[in-house]
């Protein structure tokens, strides 16, 4: 047999508990609302960290590139300076450098200096290249 609600139950249910105050509602709202505003801020933290990481990475890459560029530039400058130096005059040093690089380089430098001698004074040729007497040369060549 199913019993229905008795009179006392109905009477009790008809009593309404006193409602909560507006102040309590406001206090609860104050406690819960800030969390809603904090969520975007919280979501922004990983984005901010990613931005900082990306900037740092970019800085490293750019600095690395600049270092490599300046190193290559200074390398080029020194090579060019060396080239200019040993190409300028037919010295022992310039021939040594050219020979160290390759026989072709040595030959090229030699040809260059020969062409220079044709347009400059003969003293350069005498000092820089062949100053031996004909007799000495003949001895060296084994003509005697």
């Amino acid at each position: 047999m199913i019993e229905g609600p008795d009179f006392l139950e109905l009477e009790l249910a008809s009593l309404r508990p006193k409602p909560i105050s507006d102040e309590l509602r406001q206090r609860i709202e104050n406690r819960l609302q800030p969390r809603r505003f904090q969520q975007p801020r919280r979501a922004a933290h990983p984005a901010l960290a990613s931005c900082v990481a990306a900037i740092c990475l970019l800085a490293v890459v750019v600095c690395g590139s600049m270092n490599r560029y300046s190193a290559s530039m200074s390398g080029n400058r020194s090579v060019r300076a060396n080239d200019a130096r040993y190409h300028a005059e037919p010295t022992l040093r310039s021939y040594q450098l050219a020979f160290c690089r390759s026989p072709d380089e040595f030959q090229r430098l030699l040809n260059q200096h020969i062409s220079l001698t044709s347009t400059t004074t003969s003293s350069v040729v005498r000092v820089g290249a062949f100053t031996r007497s004909e007799a000495t040369l003949a001895t060296l060549l084994g003509d005697n």
Binding site: L8, E11, A13, L15, R16, P17, L24, I28, R31
Partner: protein, 165 residues
């Protein structure tokens, strides 16, 4: 989610008054009881998605906070507690013509043992089912049902005695 929407104001509108009534089973002072409801409700709202039975968890949170506050209040003197009880407001919104009867019900309710009264409040005004009451109070469904039955019987006896006087 059983018993409500995802808007906290809906939950508060629907259950706020009964939560306050429930808290006042342990904390007679209305202002202190509102503190309890505030703390318990905020705690409930932040964890509502993690619990299987949100409504039971909400009432369980109120009881937990109320008992916590009660422990603190026990440190106060008996005199201060008696004063607080004397100053406490009534539990219900009385209609003028029924005030006498409703006062009698409220007094009879206050005389019930705590373990029966809390079941009665959850069943009558909270409209919880016995399984939900069992979950909220950590008791079996049968225990919840029997406590409710005994509470009604005792209340009925008290009200009959009151009407004879």
């Amino acid at each position: 989610m059983s018993g409500g929407s995802d808007d906290w104001t809906d939950w508060l509108d629907r259950h706020g008054a009964v939560l306050l009534l429930f808290a006042r089973q342990w904390i007679s002072n209305r202002s202190d009881a509102e503190d309890i409801v505030q703390e318990a409700f905020v705690r409930f709202w932040r964890r509502r998605d993690e619990v299987a039975e949100p409504l039971s968890y909400l009432y369980a949170s109120v009881k937990h906070c109320a008992l916590d506050r009660q422990r603190h209040q026990r440190r106060q003197s008996q005199r201060e507690e008696a004063t607080a009880r004397a100053e406490c407001e009534s539990l219900f919104s009385h209609a003028a013509e029924q005030a006498e009867r409703e006062n009698a019900i409220e007094e009879a309710l206050c005389e019930l043992p705590e373990f029966q009264r809390e079941v009665l409040v959850l069943k009558i005004w909270g409209e919880l089912t016995f399984p939900q009451i069992g979950e909220a109070l950590q008791i079996s469904v049968n225990t919840a049902a029997s406590r409710y039955r005994y509470a009604l019987e005792k209340l009925r006896e008290s009200l009959v005695k009151e009407s004879i006087r």
